[in-house]
Amino acid sequence: MSCEMFESLIALHVEGDLTAAEAEELAKHLRICAACRDFAEEMRASQRALKKHGRAAIEPAVLAGIRAGVLRKIARRRRGWLPVMQGIAAAVPRPRRFSPRALALAASLVLVLGAVVALLRWGEISRPEEPAWQSSEIEPVPPAARVEPIPAQAPSPVLPSAPERPPEPVPTSPPPAPGAERPGPGPQPVEELAATRIAAQQVPPAAPRPAAEPMMIKLVSDDLVIYWLVEPDPTQEETNHEVTTI
């Protein structure tokens, strides 16, 4: 048997993993081979270092943190509603960017938003000239206080000043009644969309803008962001649109 083969026996021998016959054979070889004796000493030193650092002290705070984390997660699961949510989350893989699921979600959001915009326009047109808050005890909310500003440097796939704009995807609102004017800011019925964060922004009312200035709408979900350009009907008189943030 060569020294190379004895090295394997030495690796097992240092931890007592040899049979009696193998150990006896190795002992005979070690008596006559200085190189294998050195090898055995290196192997023992290696094993000592492995055990010394393998069994290093563990900080109690680390262990306490692990237990606290486990108990916290278990407590969440036992509250009743979380098992349902976590079951859904476990069963449904997180959709990738622009996956069919995400696109379906985006399409749904667009449909809902379109319906809301149509309702808003319809309500504004059919509302009396006097703003609702003037005829009731509801305190008016300044438009600027409800605006979620979009930074000017934020990348936007649709530029309001672009000469060519995409066709208006939002369902068109009913034509305005002759002479009808849009009222000022009033109560917004869009709280129904609380589950979806929708931020719509418009050029600040104080800034003069042309009558055909589009309205920028930003749809935000967990997976994608949609910028939407709503182009008002140029035949309508310019008014200050309400900007709503949910």
Partner: protein
């Protein structure tokens, strides 16, 4: 009787006459009934085993903490399926190895020991700068040598040499045969020795 009272009564009774297996059975029964204190004590009994093994298999403390949490969450999930009067440690070893294998695949590139972690442990060891430096270097060599092994070799070596389990039990935990585990242990020890010698002689960066 409240849960807390029940735990205290059980503790005083088994403190004098209880055996470890009876204590485990009682803890398991209470944990199955939803007693968080009992489950916390279950974790305390095995946390060093689970975290220590995960720490050796994964290399990083943060990953080992994540793995240990996942192991205990699986223990909680399978409380009803654990057979009473059987030691829990082998089952926990098996789950720990599986969890670490899955976690290690996802975090393959992060297996090196962060320098600041080794430094902190070296500082805790003593005030002599030379001794601290030597300790830190030796620890890094061991960790990097462990990282150079295959998953199976590392699991076999950690369970056999660090945890001190017999080869037959290691084979049962990793789902292999004793001769295969023996071969893996042998190769792993030879690799660790070779890695360490080359680092000490400066032939390995």
């Amino acid at each position: 009787m409240s849960t807390e009272t029940a735990t205290m009564v059980w503790t005083s009774r088994t403190g004098a006459h209880g055996s470890p297996s009876c204590e485990l059975d009682s803890l398991l029964a209470q944990a199955r009934r939803g007693d968080p204190r009992a489950f916390d004590r279950l974790m305390q009994r095995h946390e060093r085993q689970v975290y220590g093994t995960a720490r050796r298999l994964l290399g990083r403390s943060e990953d080992a903490q994540d793995a240990a949490q996942e192991v205990f969450l699986r223990l909680y999930r399978f409380l009803d399926r654990i057979e009473p009067r059987r030691p829990l440690a082998p089952w926990l070893y098996r789950v720990t190895v599986n969890v670490c294998r899955d976690l290690g695949r996802r975090r393959r590139l992060r297996r090196t020991v962060p320098l600041e972690e080794a430094e902190l442990e070296a500082v805790a060891a003593g005030s002599d700068p030379a001794a601290r430096a030597a300790l830190r270097e030796e620890k890094r060599i061991v960790e990097e040598a462990l990282a150079s092994l295959s998953d199976k070799e590392r699991a076999a070596l950690v369970l056999r040499d660090v945890e001190g389990l017999p080869t037959e039990e290691v084979a049962e935990i990793v789902g292999s045969s004793p001769p295969t585990v023996r071969s893996q242990i042998c190769r792993a020890r030879l690799k660790i020795r070779q890695f360490r010698q080359r680092r000490l002689k400066g032939t390995l960066p």
